[in-house]
Structure formats: structure tokens, C-alpha cells
Amino acid sequence: VSAVWRLRALRFVAEIEVADPALDGYLRRLFRDLRTDDAGAIDVEWQVEAAEADGSAGWAFVTRGHDRYEFTDSGHVALEMLQTLNARCVATWPGVVCHAGCVSLDDRAVMLPAHPNAGKTTLTTGLVRAGFRYVTDEGVAFEDGTTRIRPYPKPLALDAGSWSLFPEFEPAADLPGDDYKRTQWHIPASDIRADAVSGACDARWIVFPTYEAGAATELVPMRRAAALVELAKNTFDFPRHGVSALEQLATVVRACDCYRLTVGNLADAVASIEDLVARG
């Protein structure tokens, strides 16, 4: 086994070296849906080193030549890697990236744009469990001028409020303690199902989910112009792309049916989207 390994997120490529064998094994497995054997140029070298943090033995996540973050637990190392990866892959993608979950079926994608804590990862995970394929739970990247989506199958990041909905996906790792699953559960989609990761696919539906405890689950059609505004609000760094971003998003919205989804419970929400997709 090579001492270093690589992952590719959209166009961003990182080469990673982890000093501790157990943590290395955990991170390799965690990021396996992004692993690449591509021997081409890399964007960055990341190291995870043993370090002392807050007076305790811990870890340092180091971007060679730049930043160094020290943590006492493995969970925060993974979280920092994920957050850094999200930021870097969005920043290096030349086109528009929407803040959205996304699943596909038969090459047709259901986008789930939402602000943080709207429940998009929970709904995305539920849809993958139900048989959809996983595109992303964070960033939907469009190939320029088209409705084509490039997958970014990062590990699903489930917050504690959703853990009881997915007890079968509780992470397990050969690491001391349970730090790695205390803050968030990080789940490679291929842990849910071996063929769960989607290939490139075309946007066909845009569903804006909002979780409301105790509410009736309801899928309501949405005017395309209103959907375009909402989608723009859920686009990373919209001003950087400006007019070209709005043109790109309008191309997508014109090709999609658009809805608002009030999520009262996960099972009904998944059933609503299954029904939507079945109707074509």
C-alpha cells in the first residue's frame, strides 16, 4: 500500500499522507468514492501528523506550505478535511456550483437546493437508501452552458438530529474511542449500496426542501422564475460568475420541473419524490 493516496473532487486533486496507520485506513475508506489513481498534476498536498493539541496528544491537518490545524480527535480531522475539500473543489470548478443535495435515477437528476440545516443531507441519504444514486449532498456542479451535472460524491455528513433515522449507517472504525462519529456521521455512499454513486447526469427536477417538525409533507409546484431566484440564492459565489451564472441557472431551470417540499417526515418525503420521478 502506497504511503500516499489521492482524491479528486470535481477538478480539485489532493495528495494525502497520514502518519497513523489506523487513521489512514479510516480516511482512505471514508473518501473512497473520491479516490483516484490519476498520476497527473495535483493541486495540494495534505498531511495528517501526530501532534499535541490543547496539551493532549492529537492530530495536525497540514496543507503543505500553507495552513496547519491541530485537533485532539480524529472526528475533527475528517471534518476539517471535508470542509476544506468542499471549499477548494467549489473554488476550482470553472462553472456554476449550487448548494444542494442531488440524487439521480436513469441519468435524470433530482436537485435538492437548500440552505444549511434545511435537511438536504437527511433527504439525500433517505433517497439513496430507497434506491436512488448519489450525486452529492453539498455541491451540484454544472458543465458550462448545459444541464449536465458532474458528481461530487463526498461522504454524506449527517448531523445528530438525523442519526435515529439511519441506525444501520452508524459508522464503525478501528480507531480508539468514538471521536470519529461524535460530531457528525460521515458515510461514504458506497457503504449504503455498492453501486450507489452516480455518474454524470442531467438536471430534470428541482425540489426545494424545508424540514418542519410536525408538518404534513407536501410537494407543491413552483413557478420557474421563482425557482430561478431561489436557485441563484443557493449558488456558491454567485457574484463571481454574475450574468453568466444567471444564464447557466436559467438553462437548468427551463429544463426542469420545480417544486417546494415541506418535509414533515422522511418516509413521506422520499415517497413524494419517488412518485414525482415515476411520473416522469
Binding site: R224, A225, A226, V243
Partner: protein
């Protein structure tokens, strides 16, 4: 805004029309605006060549409605768009040149 105003879409405002409605992106202000069907129709007409009074005449005749009511509605919509900084041509005669 007066009845002799000839509103014009500001050049720095990009328009995307979808199903009869429009989304505007004001590049200078980095702001998005959503227009309903009626306002979208007016937005497309606002080219700086026609005064609100002339427009009210045409619409009232076409629809067979009260001209003063139409004019009042046109002024209200124009004021709203102007308040959002989306229009030029509010302080000069129709056909006026750009500064």
C-alpha cells in the same frame, strides 16, 4: 415619475424570461428581482421611446378600459421599478440620448 416619463431598462440589468415572468439581475447592485406577468410585459416595453401617457392611451384603447386607471397603474409599477434602481429615462423627454 410623471406621465411624460419614458422609462428605459437600465443597461446593466440582465433579464431572463421564464414562462411569461422575468428574473432581473442588477449587476451593479448584485441584486435579483422577480417580476410578475404584468410587470414583465411592461419591462419589455420600457425602451425609453414611449411615455407612460402614450402607453396608457394604447393599453386603454386595446383593452377598452378606463385610461386614467391604466395610467395610475403604470405610474405605480414604474415608481416601484424606479425605486429598485432598475430604470433610466425618467427625467427626460422620450427619445433622449444617453449621457
Amino acid at each position: 415619475v410623471t406621465t411624460s416619463s419614458a422609462p428605459a431598462r437600465r443597461a446593466e440589468v440582465h433579464t431572463e424570461a421564464l414562462d411569461g415572468e422575468a428574473v432581473l439581475y442588477d449587476v451593479r447592485a448584485d441584486r435579483l428581482h422577480l417580476l410578475n406577468h404584468t410587470t414583465t410585459l411592461l419591462w419589455e416595453i420600457f425602451d425609453g421611446q414611449v411615455t407612460l401617457a402614450e402607453l396608457a392611451d394604447e393599453i386603454a384603447e386595446e383593452l377598452g378600459t378606463d385610461r386614467d386607471v391604466v395610467l395610475a397603474d403604470l405610474v405605480a409599477v414604474t415608481v416601484h421599478l424606479a425605486d429598485q434602481g432598475l430604470l433610466d429615462g425618467l427625467d427626460r423627454e422620450p427619445g433622449g440620448t444617453e449621457p
